[in-house]
Homo-oligomer: 359 residues x 2
DNA sequence: GCGTTTTCCGAAAGCGGTTTCGGAATTTGT
DNA sequence: ACAAATTCCGAAACCGCTTTCGGAAAACGC
């Protein structure tokens, strides 16, 4: 439309050169004399040259834009997380001249459609997705398309792919260890739907933690909830009405943990002193909850940067199977992890009594 | 690179037509027989045709991508806000085939540079910015560039521009009214640096609220802080060491209010019963703070949608001065607004006594 | 001092669309 | 049945940049 910008042609005319020469000068071809390269660069600066993105893309065939597919149903509470991720992604991409595009989808089907569109219209040159399912159709699709992609999380797949993940299994195992160390024996797990890989692996870690501590697995103590505060609240309400309620609860995410805290307080109990709670993510607002939430913190700022770097690795021709990174989460202890009140007397736990006391 | 996609040329050859004919058929030119248009459409579907974005952009000159410039220093706590905004923006843009690009900047200077780049390289066809300064250099820049843009917030400008905003002045005025109605007379304001337009207008609303309630303006009761929980905490600490501390505190954002709560609790006081606190934004995590935070809620989900629609209005040729919308915020009362303890006895307020009591 | 390399640049063909222009084929007018 | 008006499509230029190819000019060799 407007864009009164200097093109290579303008530079060429200004200098009495051919456009092809200008192009090669700017791209560092060896068959251009240093003197003319300098002239070209000077003129470019002087005339305010801006390479036309579309033109370059059209002739090279690659788009210097990466797409981030937003996880479908993101509660407003879990979003601080992806905002940080976006920042790391965007800033790191920019260092090599790439831009970041975000795409929201309306359904799993729509998501596949978007991926196909983004790649096949040439809108983007790479894609990053989050929260893969245990068996995620997006992965074989992108492999079929030949689109460079990195997954934030792991997944089952026949062919190897690039991924960045935090070891949730390990994290939940050590959470259990931590709680057992505090004298807890009845430890519950509030998880999310198991089609998500992260949900499964965190549950696995929980089970594994029980096992290595010689605790038996009690299905009653495992609740599956929506990834939301409301989901955590409902699940915890269930747990608290058990005949033998847990003395500690592991939440699959901090967002869910918020609901856990709410439900515990609603039952007239104190998160921490009465029932320990450990979340996962280490979100900043955990310091402001009532009481401040103990959580497994993952290195979030790092994630965006690394994922962007992995995108470049792929672009530079790295084999996807060599482009993987597994980080660890670390316990940040705030106020909701505490010694079990009666480590050896599992009978002191009628919630209703407790409630009446407090009323 | 790969992209085994069908081009218009492929369709043309498949049908024995010229590419120009195919193009005009797809774009609804009137000089194409309906019969051949149908054949073209059928072939397009059959061959899996995908228009090449770059090619179209190159020849039409317009890019169907809108950029959202991320506010420079976004605390991780304020980010739920923009994530919701992005969602509304992205989904609404997509309805007309547009995509959303996000750009993080490292400085004010860099931000101007990015805007210039995004527009002049043809990467985007419109830009939306947030949190304008009272006098914001980005606005005249975009006006000079001729780039369609909408501002999330208002600003002083010679030429009119498109904006969407929530009336912060009105909101803080009614917050003051609300508190006065609860018997408060010493009401403090924890604001943010006044180069931001929103900071100024909220302060103005605060002052206006004082005036219409016949309260005098006491500069001691106004603190300027970083837009963060830490900033709010420091500012509140100052307020509490005053000889005559406030009985109520207005925070410029919910993020800041978190720090206000922390500082109040740290002083051994109870937010709500002892000192009322009202935030601004109505963020969801306000229900999980200690205690739950009363706040002025703005219609956030609506914002992204409307801003995207305004972008299209501009693209469709609307005069920027006609593309504006002012929304109102509404009080959502949770647990931090309460009647003043001693409405008519401003002498009961030595914080140190209170602290000692609690110690 | 004349052939042979090197060095350096111009010319041109795309990339995949859009849009203008002109003309063949068909329809209309009388 | 012949000129005029429509209808419909092909041809070609262009958007800005990349890249291959070939050749002129300069440097080299002996």
């Amino acid at each position: 439309m407007s864009k009164g910008q200097a093109s290579q042609k303008a530079i060429a005319e200004h200098l009495g050169l051919a456009v092809g020469t200008v192009s090669r000068a700017m791209n560092g071809y060896p068959d251009i004399a240093k003197s003319t390269r300098d002239r070209v660069m000077a003129a470019a600066r002087e005339l305010g040259y801006r390479p036309n993105n579309a033109a370059r893309r059209l002739s090279t065939g690659v788009s210097e834009v990466a797409a981030y597919i937003m996880p479908e149903q993101t509660s407003s509470l879990s979003e601080p997380f992806i905002a940080e991720l976006l920042k790391g992604l965007g800033e790191t991409l920019r260092k090599r001249g790439w831009d970041l595009m975000v795409t929201h989808t309306t359904s799993a089907q729509d998501e596949l459609e978007q991926i196909d569109r983004l790649w096949n219209t040439g809108a983007v040159g790479a894609i990053v997705i989050s929260r893969p399912l245990k068996k995620d159709p997006r992965i074989p699709l992108m492999q079929k398309l030949g689109c460079p992609f990195v997954v934030h999380g792991r997944s089952a797949s026949e062919a190897p792919f690039a991924w960045y993940d935090v070891d949730g299994q390990d994290a939940f195992m050590s959470s259990v260890n931590h709680l057992v160390g505090l004298g807890h024996r009845r430890i519950a797990f509030v998880g999310s739907p198991l089609q998500y890989e992260f949900a499964q692996s965190r549950l696995d870690g929980y089970k594994q933690g029980l096992k290595i501590n010689g605790l038996s697995y009690d299905p009653e103590l495992v609740q599956i909830a929506d990834i939301s505060d409301a989901g955590g609240e409902r699940a915890t309400h269930q747990l608290l009405t058990l005949e033998a309620p847990p003395t500690a609860i592991l939440a699959v995410t901090d967002t869910v943990a918020l609901g856990v805290l709410t439900a515990i307080r609603a039952a007239g109990l104190r998160p921490g002193p009465d029932i320990s709670v450990i979340g996962y993510d280490g979100l900043q607002f955990g310091v402001h909850t009532n009481p401040p939430l103990t959580s497994m913190e993952q290195p979030r700022a790092h994630a965006g940067r690394r994922i962007a770097e992995m995108v470049f690795n792929l672009i530079d021709g790295a084999d996807p199977k060599d482009v993987t990174e597994l980080q660890r989460a670390h316990l940040v202890s705030r106020a909701t992890d505490a010694p079990a009140k009666h480590p050896n007397k599992p009978e002191i736990n009628s919630v209703r009594e407790k409630q009446n006391d407090t009323d």
